[in-house]
């Protein structure tokens, strides 16, 4: 390869790198540009192959969340069990076994659901919430309960979602749920 071709090749590669990282920078930057077309092209280029997010622990977590479940046996309801804490304890016992995925799965879904109910005060739901966040959380809990507590058939259960902050604790009690 002669010197000119080498230089040309280097310039092309440099331009590609520059374009790639500028696109990533614009995608991740906290203040999005107010240019709809550019944002559309930017997302088209980035998602899903180059998708990334670097707002790690921003804002710092300041709310402890708990996910209580109780289900009906032949006699009565079981005691409330905090399944998120249960998974966190398992994960702490051995960080190498991949329990991180289970913790993140339950924790993220719980955060999404609690965020979706942020404007609500603590309350009792006689009918289950109809939002998508709850649909995902409910799916995960039902599968979790079946697998971890080895339950078959129809399961009647209830949920208690709790978030405890520095100044305020909120709780949502969701009654009369059934998993078929």
């Amino acid at each position: 390869m002669n010197q000119t071709t080498k230089r040309l090749f280097a310039i092309v590669l440099g331009a590609v790198l520059f374009f790639h990282f500028m696109m990533i920078l614009f995608y991740c930057y906290p203040n999005k540009m107010k240019h709809k077309k550019f944002n559309f092209v930017n997302s088209l280029y980035i998602y899903p192959a180059f998708h990334q997010n670097w707002n790690l622990f921003v804002p710092a977590p300041n709310v402890e969340r708990k996910l209580f479940v109780r289900y009906k046996t032949k006699i009565a309801f079981t005691n409330w069990q905090d399944i998120l804490s249960r998974e966190i304890v398992h994960h702490k016992q051995n960080r190498l076994l991949g329990n991180e995925s289970r913790v993140l799965l339950l924790s993220n879904s719980l955060i999404y659901e609690l965020n979706s109910m942020d404007d609500k005060e603590s309350c009792v739901f006689n009918n289950k919430p109809s939002n998508n966040e709850f649909k995902v959380l409910q799916f995960e809990i039902e599968k979790y309960v079946r697998l971890e507590f080895q339950l078959n058939g129809t399961i009647n259960y209830e949920l208690l979602l709790v978030s405890t902050g520095k100044t305020k604790t909120k709780a949502y009690y969701i009654k009369s749920l059934a998993a078929n």
């Binding site: 790198l17 998602y47 990334q52 804002p59 710092a60 300041n62 289970r102 995960e140 697998l147």
Partner: protein
């Protein structure tokens, strides 16, 4: 290995992962093939293929196609496990993408060899830039956040059981404040200082300690380990590849 340990919870018929088929366009769908055509057998095939291709890569027998396949397979697995991902998984995807352009096997054609060398070096530079960008953005996000700028962030995080343990929760507030500001300074300066040899040892020492603490203390194991692995790329190991290319061209 982690996927196999948690296979039942993540990939089996009893999995907890909420599965939603979603076709967008053929290019995007290539990252969602496992998601859109899910079966337990296909998931197993993907996991074992990733294992085999990784071993091939470690033995330096990989080529562009095997590296590209590895990237696509991992991207499919991570797309399927979307709710469980951390920044480490996204970074791993980027590392594997640039890994597609690494070419440990030298060619006998000198022009082709020059191009391969240029691609290899560009990919290596790209990974370094990606890591620097990640640190800089992570630092920048912290600078514009109140909880980090008032020094409370790490103390606050250690009070949440999910990201803490008995040791971390007992660290005095004053030390966590110092750690908070030090973390911001570290993340902002990494992108600039890592290119200067005298700073590397200090940056990597603090970085490795920080990421091991994140991995084992805070429980974000994959993220912590992947970030530590990134430091290897800033060492001088790549000179060995350049030497190999030179040898190949001479033959």
């Amino acid at each position: 290995m982690v996927y196999l340990f948690q296979f039942k919870a993540l990939f089996s018929e009893q999995r907890f992962i909420y599965h939603h088929v979603n076709h967008i366009n053929p290019v995007v769908d290539s990252a969602f093939f496992l998601n859109n055509h899910y079966s337990v057998l296909l998931a197993l095939l993907f996991i074992f293929s990733v294992g085999i291709l990784s071993i091939i890569g470690l033995l330096r027998k990989s080529n562009y196609i095997s590296n590209l396949t590895l990237w696509l397979l991992v991207m499919n697995l991570t797309s399927f496990l979307y709710p469980t991902l951390t920044a480490g998984d996204y970074l791993l995807n980027q590392l594997l993408f640039f890994n597609c352009f690494f070419m440990p096997q030298a060619s006998k054609n000198s022009v082709l060899n020059d191009m391969k060398t240029a691609l290899h070096n560009t990919a290596l530079l790209a990974i370094k830039l990606q890591v620097c960008l990640a640190y800089f953005l992570a630092g920048y996000f912290k600078v514009i956040d109140d909880s980090w700028m008032n020094g409370d962030a790490i103390y606050q995080t250690f009070q949440i059981p999910e990201f803490s343990n008995a040791l971390l929760v007992s660290i005095p507030y004053s030390i966590t404040v110092v750690l908070t500001y030090f973390t911001i300074a570290y993340q902002l300066s990494f992108a600039f200082l890592v290119w200067f040899r005298p700073f590397k040892i200090y940056l990597f020492s603090f970085g490795i300690m920080q990421h091991l603490l994140i991995a084992f203390g805070m429980g974000l194991f994959q993220f912590g380990v992947i970030m530590c692995i990134c430091y290897i790329l800033f060492l001088k190991y790549d000179n060995r590849f350049q030497a190999d290319f030179a040898d190949g061209a001479d033959k």
